[in-house]
Point group: C2
Chain length 177, copies 2
């Protein structure tokens, strides 16, 4: 498709019908919200913008963001919910009630077969300091910055085993062939 081909150059103007579209979040199912929230809040500095409970369907949703300077989250719950769905790059964690107490319950990380989803990636200001921070927090490494074919790229696991890539933007300027 020539259209897709042109897209490789990034030169095509997006259709006007897509004006204002934003990639708001990705959703991952987690077995234990306590465990996952402790991990993402401590290790990656994320905060829960909104928790939504659905008693009839027996699940809860947690929308997490690594807030930045200038972000002002509304206090009122309805305004905060709207603000949450207007953001870019959030992490939504879904908890199906009861999984946290099921012996041996585990979700699929997408990297073992059958493959599909691969990972989420955080950009950090200093990769070496981030690696030391992960060590200080006993985070499980899949790959350290100096291991494997892709140097300066870290992969760690979240509590459910989902892969988290960690990079320092300026170190990857010459990545790829």
């Amino acid at each position: 498709m020539s259209f897709a081909g042109e897209q490789h150059m990034g030169v095509v103007t997006p259709p006007p019908e897509t004006q204002g579209f934003r990639l708001n979040h990705l959703m991952l199912r987690v077995a234990s919200p306590e465990r996952s929230l402790a991990f993402y809040s401590r290790v990656f500095g994320m905060q829960v913008l909104r928790r939504l409970d659905f008693a009839e369907m027996q699940f809860s949703l947690y929308f997490l963001a690594r807030l930045e300077e200038g972000d002002s989250v509304p206090e009122a719950q309805d305004a905060r919910t709207t603000w949450t769905f207007q953001q870019k790059g959030l992490l939504e964690l879904t908890h199906n009630w009861g999984t946290e107490t099921q012996e041996g319950f585990a979700y699929h990380d997408g990297n073992a077969e059958p493959q599909g989803f691969g990972h989420i990636c955080f950009s950090v200001p200093d990769l070496a300091k981030a690696q030391a921070w992960f060590d200080a927090n006993d985070v499980t490494f899949i790959k350290r910055a100096d291991q494997g074919k892709m140097k300066d790229v870290i992969f760690v696991k979240d509590p459910d085993g989902y892969w988290i890539e960690v990079v320092q933007a300026d170190l990857l300027a010459n990545m790829g062939d």
Copy 2:
């Protein structure tokens, strides 16, 4: 964990070691980059910021963004790569060379068993117009805005079958119990 508990309120200050951490992207494996790039560029207005090829490992990466007013993407390739890894909320598509020609090849969407990853979500300015736009582009619906228990939430499928949620922020102000 009280720490996680406090996080439900979003009142905890992120550890200083996480300053500047940003959720840069999520990665999905796709069978055919031509097909996926045509879909995401046409239907969601995304553009390829950078394509990275890795001949030795036989795969290519495509970093897509729905650029917004004020985004100025560097022209120089190395500067553009660095810029890409500094952004928030990108979509990375991974193409393992050859899958596009394998008869019946398919990736796992994470919603069928074994479950894990759920979906990505786009926030749009006008849900009704977005639904009409998807119809105009023959997008496969999982759920329309007026179907199911969750009103005003659309779910469509991308070419690999990954679920894409589409919402209009202000319509969800009172979501949840």
